[in-house]
Amino acid sequence: MIPILKLKGILLSSLQGDLTDNEVLEYQSRMLNMLEKTEAKGVLIDITGLDIVDSFMARVINETANMARIMGTEVVLCGMQPMVALTLVEMGRELIGVQTALNLDKGFDKILILIGSEKGE
């Protein structure tokens, strides 16, 4: 099971290694449930540990981000491997509409800025 951690109003998870389709789909639904329960403002997904992202995985990531956004959450994807980015572009499978950051560090900064405007409320 892919762990989803809550940290300062942000749901943090790291996808690693070879994941089966079921693991990924289970992760997607658990993430959305947790969003509803915890009222988190942001989602940070780290994919440093994925050395292959095929069209299935790309679609799930894209969908998760879009679903989370519909639920009023900001989503940042971080740590994509350079050759994964190249492969996705070559396949014509760019991740559309997902905010990205180079690594977890920058991803965290970015999500804080994105949800920052709501902090003052």
Binding site: T20, D21, I52, S55, R59, E90, M91
Partner: protein
Amino acid sequence: MSKRIPLQTESDLLFARQAAREMMREMGFGSADQTRMATAISELARNVLKYAGEGTCTLIDEQDEREMVLRVVVEDNGPGITNIDQAMEDGFTTGNGLGAGLPGAKRLVNNFDIASEPGYTKITMEIRRHANK
């Protein structure tokens, strides 16, 4: 040298793409090519599991003095692809929403060939690079 991997479960799919990556690394391919082929195998193997239930993936080292060549043959005894041209179009799918499988894989490799009839489908892919040393 060649290696034949049965495709019956999802973990076979994961094994096949890692095996290709490993073999290419040993042959001297760069990480971009390793990622390309592993991803292409992932796309095809997924189709095999979905439409045919099972099949095989064969990795063949075809290098000579001038070129490094990895050929990958993915075969199954499923229903076959009735309209190859249509299957190669972006966004086309008969399953549930995986349209980019075949055309995406094709864009990642140097040669891509499909032979299909009811009861037998064979897809051959190759990545070839000039040997540097």
